[in-house]
Symmetry: D2
Subunit: 392 residues, 4 copies
């Protein structure tokens, strides 16, 4: 049975946002995901903007009560804690450099957290927050927003079922060209992304490739990187030391090899986000630009194109189906899938239902940890001259 | 500026559904569209199902108060009329044969109406309802759900700007193969579609081609059909007299010609919904399976592929943008666009703002009328032996 | 085993061309096909050009002995007949209006004939020439140059094997846009094509759609048209009465329906030559722009793309393979396949080997007859107001 | 003006083959290229097979006089030298390990040479042969068979004209999956390719990536590699030490970076040969599977697809045009282009026309040298643990 908006948890969670206001479109993606059916989350509060006035105006415009549009997240956590109907979960859609402190404060205020990627700057930070979340009994989810596409679960199922044989080559790419030209006046949304103080130790490795790396792990949970080599460049010099292009080579523990190309200077590229997994018998390939298609190429047989929502797909894939065959689902549907799983996870955690949690595939704090670990190792390799490093 | 959920009308409209319950996915598309941002509509009531119990259970599950989940639409219209916070607008997502009576009752109850296509069985019915709506000062919108894709507005703008020259050939297709095989036990959702008493005088002509015909009119508002010829078949005999395949030839008043192929027996076809407009200098082509792309082929020049959300697109196209470039929008975004325009239309109508209404491009009752007219003319031609008939 | 140039007949045939000189590229296609391996044909003479001097210069340039470059075809037929090593077969690559007389003269001179399409102006002419060819014991082949692509034989085999079920819809298209713009000074190669005295009763119906119609017959030899309706236009007025755009609807004897769109005003279209056959279980689709691919869509299953030269293809398909998988074959390979079959047919005819002839699938005079018949019926329908006519 | 078979040199060259017989299809590609129009080469002799009897039978079958079908190349060089009409140029289509000695013997016998890639085992060997060829005044051409596609010249022209800005990223791939499965009984044609004694120091690096590397150099003649890193694997263990998969990272002297993925275990991949050049303003991308298309992506503009044979293409591109727009050219046309240039080069060399030679873009011995150098550097890097090495 397809998703049709009927409730998956007893009642919607009371939800607030930190960031995600009018000056960018990222907050909209969160709301589009969270509020898809109004049965998983209800947006009841927010500290939407670094500019409190603008944030309040925005909050009211999207339907939040004026008195629950706060000047900043600390005030919000404090005041909401005092309400009987106070918030239960927040989403963080602010520049990277603030994730850690907001996340920590939220957990300490007894809130579940959903946070933008890359989660924090260092794996140490993530491990600390992971401990704190465990101590507080709270969920920390990470919005790898593309990863909710159900065709990725189809890939996972087929690989698990041996449909491609042993994995040999992992071919990952997330590139675009929107930063190919030197910008005379970068937007605020762009500027912080190349400021190491705010963005952390990477630009495209963090901003783009963590998505794809997580998706690869979602698809092939048993594949562990043993060592990698990262070669990165700042083609626009003002971005140095943060890279706008990087190539990574990976060696997996099972002998497979992999590559990741991530770039924001791939001029003109409009379909540069893709995953190909080559096995000993067959390959699977998925492009974010045609997210409802999956190419399954068995060596020596006709090429197969699997299409979303068809009965021949795995049950785990079709469980996330909303619109049905012939009807294109896109990024908003992917975000809706992720947010629904966050809600189910939070509900299960609150009820102490570890069984549900164990079986739920979603970007949790371990996924966030892996993303930061990926960046750390890539940067360590790159800074040592693009040499092989153990994946620590 | 992109759409980000901020309100376009003073407050959300109080909205109810007739039909659209658990036994099909169509109601979900309406809710996905209407409730995208919770600033245009709020779902406060419903008569969701022919089975009142199941409908009530469903309504509660999606968040409607139990006492506003009604046994049938008549009861709903009556009881809601007595409430101060009663519904203002309803959506009709029931089998075709009930549209007319529900629509009429709603208008008489002082409600705005949003209705599934094909609107009614006859143009006479549509004209009657149009008069009634005008008399009551209410909006009747029709959910041509694919037509909200903003690339269609790009096509409209380019044609209006002369980018393809004079239109010569219109090449329309909406086909799939989901009814290629004789079903031993058709689902309820399928069965009524080939029963003339419930579906009306056509199957695929109404169920599929009215979408595409409307979209062609949206794109080329000045193109008027002069005469047409329709050849239809029922390849699965039990469907006769309703067709599962039809070809239509059109002659336009300006000398252009057109074709429509509509079918549900195009076995295996998963990308059969498309529009190509051939002009004297260039052509435009759009496929529903890749809704964010538009092919612009100028004779003698490199083929151009225009991509959603790019700055080079027309303002009217980008005004409906939500996610931004590289981020796939799909059918749910298209429905959201249409519903937002319904809300703006209803709000404008209520405020007597005819200027806004005049400039708003959306599937109104005239679009519904044209769809029924299209079917009527096609069927008249087909029943006379696939001969040319004037488009009356 | 793939084709590798080894001889298929005892010795190469002595071959000449009528037309096909320097002022167009059509003759080159013939030579590319005929001389692919130098084991089927040898070009030993020619009357290449309406301008004898230019024709002689050209002939010498491509390696023909000067004394066998003739002023006109009549002289050639006469003088070659007097040689011991005289020509055995000619190819006609002249404007349509001359085909009949050259063909007749060649047969009367005891020569086999290979002729451009459309063969002649009327079916009566074709029937007369067919009788003459039978009387003389000679082959008349027709250069439907695209039809040598072996993937068409794959389609034929799959349909014959029931892989798509019963045929329901035949969807044919051969369109381009190279005549979309009114030419102030059309080239000679272009001008005669819209002069009924030279081109015959049609422009694109003959020049383009006869190819596709033949290919459809090659693929589905058992499908017979019962009646058809043709609607044709001359969008560039100076072309009237010859059409630059036409749509044809077909009714086949088995209840299937079909459409053909042929046009040279489909502005910007660079991939407008395609064939889709819809069966009761599955569909097959082939595009001339990707001639090594075949889409096989079984309703309810993943889409299959079959690729040229793979072992899973039918033996009849792979028998025409030259380059092997991953290596693109194009139009020149298609012509080579056809010409090789002409050589085999001529050789068999000369040896009285009717068994070989019976099993050889190639565009023979019956294929030429069917093409002219197609045009005749289309034109008759069009001239009577685009009405249904029996396929006579 | 398009190529139409008219002679480009005074008379066809007398040509022979060493290898290229019945047991593989490679010789056919040579003949298809050389003999396309019979005005550049004539096949007059051969030592086609290691088995003289089979070779003679084959030679006669493709039209070579029996007495010029020789037992081995040494005999051929000797006997032909004694003839007045003896051969002038040979093509070598034998396993890699024999190229050097045959090439040397041919030059010493006063013959021009056309040789399969990879040319020899070491750059030292190539340099020696280059000296010998210079001394003898002979041409050595290398059959990078894909490189004759004229769209590569279009890329070259556009890059030279600054149409993509400064080159930043070079993205090369030549992969397929035909060796994904362990073969119990590899064919002879396959077996030698993984025997270092016969194949040389590499498998796919030599067999596949040298093509693509040459094509990249053809496209961007000014781009010089400074250092590279190669990581190679033998997924089928019996192939070790020869690789069936490799990834190479390149640093160019101008600061650009590049990648090459070459593989024969990319299971199911049927379109794995491609070149993408990313510049500071735009990118160009070409796929061997659609060789007549070129994607030109200017950042911020609609994607452009350039199509073969159109007037908007560069003169250097259209100079190699044979069939015209809408007519697919494939690998045989590419080989024909290369062989025609070999003929022009040989003719010019014989005439002492250094001007023509200087301006002719074709795979000469320097191209062969670069291919061997590429392999040498890749192997040196791989054998040292996939480390960066200077490109020596």
């Amino acid at each position: 049975m397809m998703l049709n908006g009927e409730k998956k948890i007893a009642r919607p969670l009371r939800w607030a946002m930190v960031g995600g206001g009018r000056l960018g479109q990222v907050g909209y993606k969160h709301r589009t995901g969270a509020l898809r059916d109004n049965t998983a989350f209800q947006l009841v509060a927010g500290a939407f903007d670094i500019d409190p006035e603008r944030g309040r105006d925005f909050g009211v415009n999207i339907g939040v009560a004026e008195n629950r549009c706060y000047d900043d997240y600390k005030t919000m956590f404090g005041e909401e804690a005092a309400r009987e109907d106070g918030i239960e979960v927040i989403s963080i859609a602010t520049p990277n450099g603030t994730h850690y402190e907001i996340c920590k404060a939220a957990l300490e205020a007894g809130l579940h957290v959903i946070c933008e990627k890359p989660l924090f700057f260092t794996t140490d930070e993530v491990r600390e927050i992971k401990s704190l979340a465990e101590e507080k009994g709270k969920i920390v989810g990470v919005t790898y927003g593309f990863s909710g596409n159900q065709m990725l679960l189809q890939m996972r199922a087929m690989i698990e079922q041996g449909k491609i044989g042993d994995i040999r080559v992992v071919d990952l790419q997330y590139t675009h060209g929107f930063n190919a030209l030197e910008e005379e006046k970068p937007s605020d949304a762009q500027k912080w992304r190349v400021d190491p103080k705010i963005a952390g130790p990477s630009f495209v490795l963090g901003d783009l490739s963590t998505h794809t790396y997580y998706m690869s792990q979602l698809i092939m949970p048993n594949m562990k990187i043993k060592e990698l080599l990262c070669d990165r460049q700042s083609f626009i010099k003002s971005r140095a030391p943060l890279e706008d292009n990087a190539h990574v080579l990976m060696h997996y523990e099972n002998g497979a090899v992999g590559t990741m190309w991530t770039s924001s200077i791939n001029a003109g590229c409009m379909d540069g986000h893709r995953i190909r997994i080559v096995g000993s018998k067959a390959s699977l390939e998925w492009w974010d630009s045609k997210p409802g298609e999956l190419t399954y190429e068995v060596q020596g047989e006709p090429i197969q194109t699997l299409i979303r929502a068809m009965p021949y797909l795995d049950e785990s894939c079709n469980a996330d189906e909303r619109l049905g065959a012939l009807h294109v689902e896109g990024l908003s549907d992917s975000w809706a899938n992720i947010y629904l799983k966050f809600a189910v996870a939070i509900d299960a955690k609150s009820r102490g239902d570890e069984e549900t949690l164990k079986n739920l595939v979603y970007p949790d704090i371990d996924a966030g940890l892996e993303g930061v670990r990926w960046i750390e190792n890539c940067v360590r390799s790159a800074e040592n001259g693009a040499v092989w490093v153990n994946f620590e």
